[in-house]
């Protein structure tokens, strides 16, 4: 039944994709980072009112590191959000922004984390 439903449902949703820029700063607590996220649409306009969770996976060992996703909070600045993320180790992480608003979507960003913070790499 579920297969049939999957085959038939073809309602593609709105096409304006989101773009994100992320920078994380180390906190006093080990492996806990304060992340600042800037959201924009494809035309570069800030996106406000988004609801999303920030999760993480390690590209070097997919599926094995489950970081509990944290809800991102909006700030006063346009298109700016923040979230406090706890990781398991330093290194390269793929941060995953899972949106529930303005629509269900996922944006993945790769960051390299060390004792100072995390920056987008490559």
């Amino acid at each position: 039944m579920i297969w049939l439903w999957l085959m038939l449902s073809s309602a593609a949703l709105g096409q304006t994709r989101l773009d994100a820029a992320i920078e994380c700063a180390a906190t006093a607590r080990l492996m806990v980072y304060d992340c600042a996220i800037a959201l924009a649409d494809r035309q570069g306009r800030p996106v406000d009112g988004a609801k999303f969770k920030l999760g993480a996976d390690m590209p070097s060992m997919p599926m094995a590191h489950n970081v509990r996703p944290v809800e991102a909070d909006s700030t006063d600045a346009p298109g700016r959000y923040r979230a406090r993320l706890e990781l398991e180790m330093e290194g390269e992480w793929a941060l995953r922004l899972e949106f529930s608003a303005p629509r269900r979507d996922v944006v993945v960003k790769r960051l390299i984390f060390d004792d100072k913070g995390g920056r987008e790499g490559r």
Binding site: S10, A12, D57, P59, P62, M63, N66, E88, V106, R122
Partner: protein, 295 residues
């Protein structure tokens, strides 16, 4: 259900498919360090099918399985004459070669004003079928585990029939199996083909959950874990590799306190287990004791 739990259970299901793939080859007596390559092929093939050409997910997954099985078959033909260490190294070499090729491969198409497709080391982003079709995380978890259960059921049926026993016979003593008239080489190639398809199925499901993959995902780390799960969980039943995955991802993840030391715990556990129970927790002897008396 809690989002985090859904994520962990999805990962366990996906990793189980890869672990079962490595386990299948262990049953016929071959150690493969290269099943992650078929996982990668499945991910790329299924992702290309749905994201670039708009195929429905089931068809995309099927395409991935076909690609993975064909690759498994093609790799098995020259490597099956190798045994033990030589086979292990050959499979590893193949997987690394695949990964390096994926690091070079660019294949992009314009879809709805966006360039999508494998883009060398940048990876393959935008495999959004699940999101575009508004399939919930819980729904996708159901899809993953539905497939895992079907695969397990098929493997159980094979275990109880002559083909399963013949595979175990080949794994125990390939020369003796040949002397009994069992086509050992052909059975191994068949198993490698199925294992390739199974890993690719996991890869296809993975890319649709993650929405992106990159070549780095499919390094030897992934292959070694897949192999270790079977060795920890046990070679006696298809539930063995699942148990291995649950023990590693599930149990250690549940105990977040030790998650940071997980690689140390995991490595140590594998070493100790292989000494104490060389064929894993659910080994043949235990499985036999548990199922004795039942038809």
């Amino acid at each position: 259900m809690d989002e985090f739990l859904i994520g962990v259970l999805s990962n366990i299901g996906l990793m189980s498919l890869l672990a079962l793939s490595a386990w299948l080859l262990l049953v016929v007596g071959e150690i493969s360090f290269g099943q992650q390559a078929f996982f990668a092929l499945g991910a790329y093939a299924a992702g290309i099918a749905t994201a670039l050409y708009g195929w429905p997910l089931p068809l995309g997954l099927f395409a991935g399985v076909v690609v993975g099985a064909l690759a498994g078959f093609a790799v098995a033909i020259p490597t099956m004459r190798l045994t033990g260490l030589a086979f292990a190294i050959a499979t590893l070499a193949f997987a690394e070669l695949m990964r390096l090729l994926l690091q070079l491969w660019v294949f992009q198409r314009e879809v709805d004003g966006e360039r999508l497709g494998p883009n060398a080391v940048e990876g393959f982003r935008g495999v959004r079928w699940v999101y575009d079709h508004d399939l919930s995380a819980l729904g996708y978890l159901g899809v993953i585990w539905g497939i895992v259960v079907v695969v397990l059921a098929a493997l159980f049926l094979c275990e109880r029939s002559r083909i399963g026993l013949a595979c175990r016979a080949v794994g125990a003593d390939a020369e003796l199996a040949e002397a009994q008239g069992l086509p050992a080489a052909r059975l191994k190639i068949l198993v490698a083909t199925v294992a390739g398809g199974l890993a690719a199925l996991g890869g296809g499901l993975y890319v649709h959950l993650a929405t992106y993959v990159e070549p780095q995902h499919f390094s030897i780390m992934l292959g070694v874990h897949a192999l270790a799960y079977g060795l920890i969980g046990g070679l006696g039943t298809a539930l063995g590799p699942i148990l291995g995955v649950v023990l590693d991802i599930g149990l250690l993840e549940a105990l977040q306190e030790i998650a940071r030391y997980r690689m140390i715990v995991f490595g140590g556990a594998v070493a100790v287990l292989l000494i104490l129970r060389p064929r894993g927790l659910l080994d043949e002897a235990l499985v036999r004791r548990l199922t004795r008396g039942k038809p």
